[in-house]
């Protein structure tokens, strides 16, 4: 069942250098209970997508087109007050750097307690119990002691756990996690990803996991959308896309990864660079770097074509298929 649907989302930024077209028609759906990966290289629009859903875009940003449907309402049409009731409560976001998202002046327990109080009228004793349970559920050692510590007293991994506990306090239906493990060591990253999987399983929380790491997608997500230059170029079931990527960009990315056994061989490279958001793009944004490029790729912007039940790719090589 679709819980959240992003349709043809366009976002641009006004900058001293001109208009930056960050999102140029993002389309994807998050199903209830799934972990959905948004993957792509720096600047492709992952964070802007996440922040658009939360309606937390910077001041110089403008949504010029599109809809974000959550429970039959278009979030983009809500008043700031109505959005306030959704943000944090029903859709929560966690960031790469938990230190900036946690309030340094209040204890971890105090911050969770605040959210609980805003959320339901339970008595203080019950809130304390709920706070302890939350701290335990994200795997923080010694929850009773954690109640009274300040964010700076925790390690990076513990801060990220505390951030997740805080975001869970309001029992959101969706968590948007923007590179939640990028700043952490791999053994700690493994703990946090395991925690996200557990939460998804046990609380049926749906997660949008933003990452640049295809390994993380393969190990954590059921669905994935691959972004390039502000558009989704391929999306669908993780198993299908990793087994047979159908967009030249996703194929190139997967081939560029070093893997066990790749030693002694040249890694496949994608020539050239990502286009800047300032450039005007007609046709397929990947065309200047694509080894399969055809004349019409420079003129026609490929829509997502359906290749199978859970697999779509935005590449004109698939033009003869049913239009998704």
């Amino acid at each position: 069942m679709t819980l959240l649907k992003v349709e043809n989302l366009h976002v641009q930024f006004t900058t001293p250098f001109g208009i930056v077209r960050a999102l140029r028609g993002i389309d994807f759906e998050l199903d209830k209970g799934d972990i959905m990966g948004l993957v792509g290289e720096t600047g492709c629009g992952k964070s802007v997508t996440g922040r658009s859903i939360m309606r937390l875009l910077d001041e110089n940003a403008e949504v010029t087109e599109g809809r974000i449907i959550f429970n039959k309402t278009d979030l983009l049409r809500l008043s700031e007050r109505e959005m306030h009731a959704i943000r944090g409560d029903r859709i929560a976001m966690i960031f790469q750097d938990p230190a900036t998202a946690l309030n340094p002046l209040f204890t971890i327990g105090g911050q969770i307690n605040d959210v609980l109080r805003a959320h339901s009228p339970a008595p203080a004793a019950q809130r304390r119990k709920a706070t302890l349970e939350l701290l335990a559920s994200v795997g923080l050692p010694d929850p009773a002691q954690m109640m009274d510590v300040y964010p700076h007293q925790l390690s990076g991994g513990q801060q990220q756990r505390a951030m997740i506990a805080l975001s869970l306090a309001a029992e959101p239906e969706v968590i948007i996690a923007d590179e939640p493990t990028t700043a952490l060591d791999v053994t700690i990253q493994a703990q946090i990803l395991d925690l996200l999987r557990t939460l998804q399983r046990e609380r049926a929380i749906s997660v949008i996991l933003i990452t640049h790491d295809l390994g993380i997608v393969a190990e954590t997500c059921q669905k994935v959308a691959v972004l390039y230059a502000g558009r989704v170029v391929e999306q669908g079931a993780v198993a299908a896309i990793f087994a047979g990527p159908q967009h030249p960009y996703s194929r190139g990315l997967l081939a560029a990864l070093p893997r066990p056994g790749s030693r002694g061989t040249d890694l496949k490279v994608i020539p050239g660079n990502v286009p800047s958001g300032l450039e005007r793009i007609d046709g397929c944004a990947f065309a200047p770097r694509c080894e399969f490029v055809m004349e019409r790729c420079h003129r026609l912007q490929p829509p997502l074509f359906s290749l199978a039940a859970e697999h779509q790719a935005a590449c004109l090589l698939h033009e003869d298929r049913v239009h998704g």
Partner: protein, 325 residues
């Protein structure tokens, strides 16, 4: 077999951190603890480990930017720690380092030409014409066109800046290059370009690399041998193939299983370590990995395991292998 280019014996380094109200007390941070290894000319040794395990401290010791408290470093038969400052300066031409963030190591006011020519100016007397030819050749070697001579660092992408940093490091024809997380800040597609370039340069110039990273998939691609570090110590060292086929140390096994593989079908078992990486300020007694080790035994808590050979090709520091003695 020829002598190794680099021989490191029992390298230890302790930082002292002042504590207490008037800085009267002090605490020892054992950043390197009896690190020993050898590296053959033309080969790559990968050093892998998590933050704070001592990787970068090791790199700085090898270049003598830091003085170890104990141990010896032999480079091409020369005892580095015995050299006077002048001789060391000469020696440094043959040993270069490339860092993770090229923008931090490139002077923002200089253009590509001067960035690459700078080491040539200080170490080699040559005419401007010769210098121009050298810089042009270096740019070509790292895959940049000649107009990069006129670009400032802020006009470069991350990958281009890393290529300039490489050209600069190669200017004096070093024998040995330390690569400290050279691709960690780069996107996948650019990372692949830089890795291919590093391997090609190594072949063409017969370079010896010490490649430092936290990323196991990158390190296995580029290294002949791999040393795994934990809290200032090498806990395992063997060939690149062997690390992946038969990891022996429980930490290496956990590291391997924590590294996300881009293969959703793999149903390899995950080892998820509990706890956080302890600090070198208070290293646990016995085996420093014991508080997180899934296979911990009694003696691990008190007895420090030696790093010893379990086969002709494989060293490990773990009590699970005591019986092999």
């Amino acid at each position: 077999m020829a002598e190794p280019l680099l021989k490191v014996r029992d390298l230890s380094l302790t930082y002292w951190r002042r504590t207490g109200l008037f800085g009267r007390g002090s605490q020892a941070i054992q950043a390197l603890n009896d690190v020993s290894f050898e590296l053959n000319a033309g080969e790559t040794l990968g050093i892998v480990g998590e933050s704070g395990c001592g990787k970068s401290t090791l790199a700085r010791c090898l270049l003598r930017l830091l003085r170890p408290s104990n141990g010896s470093i032999q480079f091409d038969g020369v005892d580095l720690l015995a050299l006077n400052a002048d001789d060391m300066r000469q020696m440094r031409q043959r040993m270069q380092i490339v860092l993770q963030n090229p923008f931090a190591s490139l002077n923002p006011r200089l253009k590509g030409f001067d960035l690459i020519a700078e080491p040539l100016r200080t170490h080699a007397a040559m005419t401007r014409e010769t210098m121009k030819d050298r810089v042009a050749a270096l740019l070509t070697e790292v895959g940049l066109s000649l107009d990069f001579m006129n670009r400032h660092p802020h006009q470069l992408s991350g990958g281009q800046a890393q290529r300039i940093a490489l050209a600069r490091a190669l200017a004096l024809n070093p024998a040995f290059v330390i690569l400290d997380e050279p691709t960690s800040a780069l996107d996948v597609s650019v990372q692949a370009q830089i890795i291919n370039l590093l391997i090609r340069l190594q072949r063409q110039r017969r370079l010896t690399y010490l490649f430092i990273t936290h990323d196991l998939s990158v390190i296995q691609h580029i290294s002949d041998r791999i040393a795994v570090m934990y809290l200032g110590k090498i806990v395992e060292e063997t060939s690149s193939e062997e690390v992946f086929a038969h990891p022996q140390h429980p930490y290496t096994q956990a590291l391997l299983s924590s590294t996300p593989a881009p293969d959703p079908k793999s149903d390899r078992q995950r080892i998820i370590l509990a706890g956080t990486v302890p600090s070198a300020l208070n290293p646990p007694p016995g085996c420093s990995f014991h508080p997180r080790c899934p296979q911990v035994m009694d003696r691990c808590r008190t007895l420090r395991p030696e790093l010893r050979w379990t086969s002709a090709d494989h060293r490990v520091s773990c009590h699970l292998f005591d019986a092999l003695e």
